[in-house]
Symmetry: D2
Subunit: 395 residues, 4 copies
């Protein structure tokens, strides 16, 4: 059977693939040393959504835009939702922020001071209100909390206070809403983070209830961590709520997904599919596992960076779908180490790009979305239009 | 209040400290490149126990010897127990071995072949029989299982089979016996290990029941992992069953505990104490958390290496007990980052060695157990006596 | 011989210890997520120097302030020098900056565009002019250069261009000036940095000449790297120019030196002393190896953070000086692994704090400089005085 | 231009590719926990060579076999050479061993005892004699030396003694022989290794002379190290002597090259080619840079494992040769980050397997060497023939 034949078989499964893009990827970002601006950067949430909709228009892969509160705060979220829908996209996950207020310097949901904890909880309740207006399903909580010096905080007490704060937030959710709790190995806290690993996120959300899930950011692990194992484990436990896709060479580099280790992205997608995490979208355009990007385009162009990212996910999904699972299982059960590995590598090494281009063209999309975008004049247009004002960034 | 005064206050808490020493630490060990032998190395389990009893005689800290099956297999474990008790020590944790039989090349409790799984389960049932004869409380399971190549095994299927195998073993335990499941980041499997992190061990033992606990080996983590956080978390969850103490610079080096990063050992002991894991021994000489050594003395002398190890644990326990927890809490609650850190460092930097020496002498022990051992002639005696036969090692 | 007796012997060696403090440590710093301000933060370079002089006044350890250009640019550096000297401190190393100009987004000394390279070289020539006015010996170059994506740059061509740019800068130095080239494992570039390791810094400075040296920042290595080995190697090669002291748990955390792993700091100081890098200050208050701090006080108080830092260096220097090198050599030559380690640990575990306090008091300093600072009213004074204006930071 | 057209252009460059296979890859290997044997494993060096020749017969890629002394010690190396040549292969690099003699427990070339150093030097002189008989060009020195505990050894003194020992060995080489010095981050020593990084290897071999070079083992680096940067740097310095190819997920796993991160192998080959390290073989079948495998087939079949390995190197070489270097340079010089990355990824993602199969068939080789080997009956033959005796391993 030729590669093209096999592609034809898996093509229908690609139809429903939906990747959420974050509004903040279209704003400026950088390192602690410098944030470089670029011409055409959005000044408003509406402009961010317009850019996100452009990514969707060229790729057909990004029907949802994820918002960050307060960066994307507007007076009328219902209007914002209509604005997005008019551009062909929906509003997705709502991300809270407890790391940019002076009160949160030493903690938010875990702070020793009940007043600060209450403030941080209230912020999440406000986010839930936003979700009601936007129709969002997921409230994503990334906690920047932790300590920099041994002794600075009581790690166990903080864990208990976290549990209490999350309980209040979870109980405020509507029945069709979910809480997803992200974990992160380090940064911005350096000695300890309050939710450093999947185990901690898991025990916290397991204590909350069925609609609390884990968010796996692919850049938030110690070096050498087998991430696809965690994917498999969380799917086995029914607790994989969402991905934050990006890639990294050493720390939380937030590079374009698949750029640092495409084989790792492939292996992750293999486990997602094997574990039932990839499936036809529900009527709202969301699968059970939310596939989100969370990247920083510090030096590269932002819209092309997002286009490249969603295409990388699609390409690796296609390769993962090509995996001959019967042959793989047979080799595994026969104890054929090299044979089983070869079956896996065969899928990874299959060049799906031409097939995907043809498939896109059948659907009225450009075969090469990046080239089409570059030729479209959109970039020149926004560079000309978006003059003055304050470019969006992480504030 | 002087340091000596404070030492007097914490001294009673040191009374019950009991550290288990592993029988295999007295045999030869090494790396994949070479195992160096040394004069006086035990040839039998009895000689290992004699050496372990010597460590206890000089330190008063090591009343239990942990055994490894089949390395320490004897016909009459009841007799072995009496032999140990006559030397002043008890038999402690029983460690199983599922990594040295050809059948286990591709897995044991997780193997695709039910026959191999059954064999591995039966080995554990045999270990439980040993526990009944030795009076051991804990069955410790370290799984060398995993895969070396992507695709080689079905990680999720292996997790399910592991759960099933552990269930059978757990159900065979007596009411006063426990199962402790160790996790390990890598080695001897390189691509994935079936129990790579505390989260996996936790979800497996949580599914089993109350008497299934996690074993934390201090050398089994990714670089940069905050181990004391895991200690705090497992104690919070009521699931910290035991430690395998050792130290490492990079991988699972199995060096003398406290040798690589004494400050880390101190921080671990601080969390153990804060979390209720350190307490008076029960009548069997065991606290709820078993403090075991698991080290390799590849190039250094073995008995002195063990003496140094238990002393390191004692010294760091004493420093951790000296922590002024009231001052710490006050600084933490005041948000005094440097002040809280200083309270912690003050305990760490306090030199307890002279106080401990005096305390030992009050109890009839040598102030400097290592010097006393070296002067005792024991080493010369075993070197003279233990001639011929096969020196014990990892087989 | 008691510990105090030994302290008396090493005390004279502590006299000349001089640690450079960086002007930027007194300004605000943070992570890419947030920079928290604090009351009393300097608005001008003069205020930074006043704070640095305060650290010296209380500790006697910090006679030099290191400047960063352009952050500390003033019209009249000769006047600034007099201002500093009036406060009892000198101006030390001049640090260049090639990472905050839009032109440098893709490189500076390594850029493909000769115009950008020239601009970056010229900046260094301007720094050399500053050095002439301030009387500084060292021009320190930390290069933020590198790439984020494979293929983005020609790593080898960049290395060649770097060599050429450095040559021009080096040739512009006066005979009594030095160039020190820092290396850094990662950040702000994520895929590759142009000077990622000591080997690269060494081959670049060795090609320049005798007055080009390596700067070792203790936070700029891969996990598991044995830093004291690099110290020993660079001293052996005669190429250790300076330290940037700080500490880290995982990445370039820039925490207070000695906070994360005090034993590592001790081992570094042992190699510095053994390798001849620690000695009486020259008439300008500088030893051959410049001991600089490079830290970020993101959440802790800045002046107390610097006081704690220089005290940590002093305490570990004292412990390292206490090392019984004769006993150590004897144990090493006898192949006594545990004995040699014990000699080393004995020095590390010796609590020198009381001796150092007494030694300080003999010299008219407070025994506890941190307490004395906190009681001095200086902090309250600057918080009251420094109202309005723009707090200094990394810009 | 189609992919096949481009393949036609680069195909001639593949002709001279020669990969050395190590004799020990055909023997048993494992971890410190267990060495699993397998049917058909060689008992003698002749059987190892026969297996290596089989790899060459099926792939056309492995014309040289690297030997390890004393594992492969024979009385008559001239006869062994003829034996190999009759089988169609030559004898390549000679590897010394200073890690399996009791004398070397604490060091060999670095030992404090001049008698032990002399013994280790003499071993290398004997290896040079072997090289004369085998016609080998390279003496490869991997030093297992280092220390496990801080203080155990004088790191700087060891460096000096190493330099002296290497000097004696280097001076004994013939004019057409080279010394290549391998570096290794850790293992079997855990606290420090005497040649831990490329910088140390470089300064040691640079001090020796032109025919002393660095050996880069792809598994011997800290996590996150950019290995292709080191390749580029060593080629720039004219000091890249040889590779030890393998792959790893965390430590020195010695897995099949390209198995863990094929994209990394591709990037390495790109730098090799860009830096002039890949070229037509000299008359002896060797390029200037020796491409050797150094792997352990702990659980997979050995001959198929070696076949897969040399094919992986060939496949990644072909992809690297396909790189459109003109387009890449243009994008780099235009500052087109995403464009440059895309040019690189385009080469990596090109599936060369069918082209390579056709190319092999044109040369009388099987299109799929692994399938051809499995169908050849060789494995069954050696399993039937090699009964009794002692299987070869690391001793």
């Amino acid at each position: 059977m030729t590669s093209t034949t096999r592609f034809g078989e898996i093509a229908p499964l690609l139809e429903g693939q939906a990747i959420e893009v974050p509004s903040w990827a279209y704003g400026n970002s950088g390192t602690r040393f410098k944030v470089f601006g670029s011409a055409g950067t959005p000044r408003t949430v509406e402009e961010k959504i317009a850019d996100a909709a452009t990514v969707h228009r060229f790729t057909g892969l990004a029907p949802l835009v994820s918002l960050h509160i307060p960066w994307d705060l507007v007076d009328d979220f219902a209007a914002l939702r209509r604005y997005a829908e008019d551009l062909g996209v929906g509003l997705g996950t709502i991300n809270s922020n407890t790391f940019q207020d002076d009160d949160y310097k030493l903690g938010a949901l875990t702070h020793t001071d009940p007043r600060v904890r209450r403030k941080a909880v209230d912020h999440h309740l406000a986010c839930i209100d936003v979700m009601r207006a936007t129709g969002s399903r997921d409230l994503k909580i990334w906690l920047a909390e932790g300590t920099n010096y041994p002794g600075q905080g009581d790690m166990r007490g903080r864990q208990d206070r976290l549990a209490e704060s999350l309980r209040t937030i979870y109980d405020a959710l509507d029945e069709d809403q979910r809480l997803v709790l992200e974990y992160k190995f380090f940064e911005p806290a350096f000695y300890h983070t309050d939710v450093p690993d999947w185990g901690t996120s898991y025990v916290q959300v397991a204590a909350l209830g069925e609609r609390a899930m884990v968010c796996l950011d692919t850049g938030h692990h110690a070096p050498g961590t087998n991430i696809e194992f965690i994917v498999a484990q969380l799917l086995r436990l029914g607790k994989l709520g969402s991905f934050d896709f990006n890639s990294r060479f050493y720390a939380d580099d937030d590079l374009i997904v698949g750029a640092a280790d495409p084989f790792q992205l492939f292996r992750i997608m293999v486990e997602v599919i094997r574990g039932g995490g990839f499936g036809p979208a529900n009527p709202d355009g969301q699968s059970q596992v939310a596939f989100m990007l969370d990247q920083c385009h510090n030096i590269e162009d932002k819209i092309p960076g997002q286009i490249r990212s969603v295409l990388n996910v699609q390409e690796m999904t296609a390769r993962a779908l090509l995996l001959d699972t019967d042959a793989l299982r047979a080799a595994q059960e026969a104890g054929d180490v090299l044979g089983a590995n070869e079956v896996l590598m065969d899928a990874f090494y299959t060049d799906v790009r031409a097939d995907l281009a043809a498939w896109r063209e059948e659907r009225g999309l450009a075969g090469n979305p990046l080239r089409a975008y570059l030729a479209s004049g959109y970039q020149q247009q926004i560079e000309a239009d978006r003059v003055g004002g304050t470019q969006a960034g992480w504030n």
